[in-house]
């Protein structure tokens, strides 16, 4: 008998949850955050997807129908070009804005918080973000430099502080924020609509929320890679204080996943991988804060997906120290057999199909790799099939081989 979309929905939710929590599902689930591939497969450039929300949804529906992942990301990774253009985002380049029409957006490294501004950030992160980070990040929000410190409004503080709003530059920035807010609402409405549409087809949404490790919140868009690397040696005390704050921010970003059918908080790992820092530095600046953030998110009802984008083999000895059955580690470069051995009974694993193989290999190469993964890491559950990194350029027949083979060979008996 053919299953109804409701039944399929429940089946997929259970399959993914079982794998995430270390139980043995009916088969190895397959899902992942895919970028360019989804759109190119449907004949759509990333520029078109970022500009035309309906077109982006249609492309995602095509991918969903043809590949049938167990959970789906939809168009969330095709960021909305219109508000980005309007705001004049300075730390990003994207298709039609510094990059060719079919190239994924890329981050522009910089110091969006200066070394001498740690104290300001630590004292009042919101005020720092409003008056320094926003103007440095968005051309249209430069007038926020004059935003008054809200912490001083009480008693008769407001009399002087509210005069800031008489400043035409701040007024213009506020007008721009209103306009951008309306534009962004249309994008979020499109995402919401897509989620409802796929639910009716029997597919759950793969994410409840996104978040970033406490270290990377500072290292990505505040201090930049060079900045934070220098700070570990030249101003460690200030960095440690700021990490206390970003640990809370990491939890705050990610808690929205709680209560979703798949309450998955995806934490995108950037600068903790092998090569960036020593073991000593990792255990001082990176891991303790990430661990606390994971615990905080789990306490709030989330399942945490740690999406590692580099080689994290040397970090496995830390990764074992998390709440049992509540964490999924996604690996790009990893000694997968060792990872399985160490994480068994503690956390689930996903990923590791090389993106290079999906582009330059053959379907047989892909199947052989997936077979090895299922035999090695998929043994006794706790594994989700996925690519090594966000999927961009790839041969469709290779991606199809990955999906079909997993569905056939990944069944548990």
């Amino acid at each position: 008998m053919k299953k109804s979309p409701e039944e399929l929905y429940q089946e997929r939710v259970k399959r993914v949850l079982d794998a995430c929590t270390g139980k043995v599902p009916d088969r190895v689930p397959i899902m992942g955050p895919y970028e360019l591939f989804v759109y190119n497969y449907a004949g759509v450039t990333i520029k078109e997807a970022m500009n035309d929300y309906a077109l982006a949804r249609r492309a995602c529906h095509k991918f969903l129908g043809d590949f049938q992942p167990d959970a789906d990301f939809g168009p969330v990774l095709a960021y909305p070009a219109q508000p980005m253009e309007f705001l004049g985002v300075k730390w990003f380049k994207w298709a039609g804005h510094g990059l060719g029409d079919n190239i994924m957006y890329q981050f522009v490294e910089g110091e969006y918080m200066k070394a001498e501004e740690y104290d300001e950030f630590i004292y009042d992160p919101s005020h720092f973000m409003a008056t320094k980070w926003l103007p440095r990040s968005f051309k249209a929000l430069e007038g926020f430099a004059g935003f008054p410190p809200m912490r001083l409004m009480m008693w008769f503080g407001w009399t002087g502080l509210l005069t800031a709003f008489a400043n035409p530059e701040l007024q213009q920035a506020l007008q721009n924020a209103i306009k951008a807010g309306k534009q962004l609402s249309r994008w979020f409405a499109s995402l919401g609509r897509y989620t409802q549409e796929i639910k009716r087809k029997g597919f759950p949404l793969a994410y409840g929320a996104f978040s970033w490790p406490p270290f990377d919140i500072i290292g990505d868009t505040l201090r930049g890679t060079r900045g934070i690397m220098s700070d570990m040696i030249r101003r460690p005390d200030k960095l440690l204080k700021a990490l206390e704050i970003t640990t809370q921010l990491c939890i705050e970003y990610g808690s929205a996943a709680a209560g979703a059918d798949l309450p998955l908080t995806w934490i995108w790992m950037h600068k903790g991988s092998e090569g960036f820092m020593s073991d000593e530095q990792y255990k001082t600046f990176y891991w303790p804060f990430l661990k606390r953030a994971i615990e905080g998110l789990v306490e709030r009802g989330c399942i945490v997906v740690i999406y590692c984008e580099g080689n994290d083999t040397p970090r496995l000895k830390y990764f074992v120290d998390v709440p049992k059955g509540k964490v999924v580690y996604h690996f790009a470069t990893m000694d997968m057999a060792k990872a399985k051995e160490m994480l068994k009974g503690v956390a689930a694993i996903s990923g590791n199909v090389p993106n290079r193989l999906l582009l330059t290999g053959t379907p047989d190469d892909v199947k052989a790799y997936c077979k090895w993964l299922i035999d090695t890491v998929g043994k006794d559950g706790g594994y989700i099939m996925d690519t090594s990194a966000l999927l961009d350029e790839a041969k469709p027949e290779n991606v199809k081989a990955m999906f079909e083979f997993t569905r056939e060979y990944g069944v548990y008996h």
């Binding site: 690397m229 040696i233 030249r234 020593s278 090389p354 993106n355 290079r356 961009d392 350029e393």
Partner: protein, 213 residues
Amino acid sequence: MTKEKLVDAIANMRDQEAIQLARQMLDAGVDPRVVLEAGHEAMAIVGERYERKEYYLPELVVAGEILKEIAELAKPKIRGEAAAQAKPRGKVVIGTVEGDIHDIGKDIVAFMLEVNNYQVFDLGVDVPASKFVDKIREVNPEIVGMSGFLTLALDQMRLTVEAIKEAGLRDQVKIMIGGAPMDDDAAKYIGADAYGEDAAAAVKLANQWTGGN
């Protein structure tokens, strides 16, 4: 000796002491070229420690920062000719290929090659194939390094190698690649001579290719 003290302070990440020492030396009339030499000696030590995985990115960045500050103090005091540079071991043209603007990995490789006495021509990021070709023609390097973080770099590197071939320059250079989606198979696909996993591997390859160890 103060020079040795300065080398030691830089190599061991004692930033404030290093800058203070450099200032004292310059104020005492020590030849600014000696101060700069100390910086270069320290960088070689930092490079060795990085290759041995005793040092990581933080130390490379900080050593670079200290050296820059010291150079700013010393350079205005140099009169006459700058210090004679040791003859470079070889020339390297390096860049992140077109479509990709990631620079951290490429910068580390360039830095490590420099401290190992290579003359590095860094073309930056988003470098079209024609720019690689033009630079190879201009400076005649032994080695070309291509970097890329995204999968698009695989085909772009292949294109770049193709362009180098078409320009008739392929036999004059050894080509190394590096970056997240790369591996030995990628090197074959691209038509490069070798893949290097990290900056230490890049130095090793360069040394092999220039006839050393």
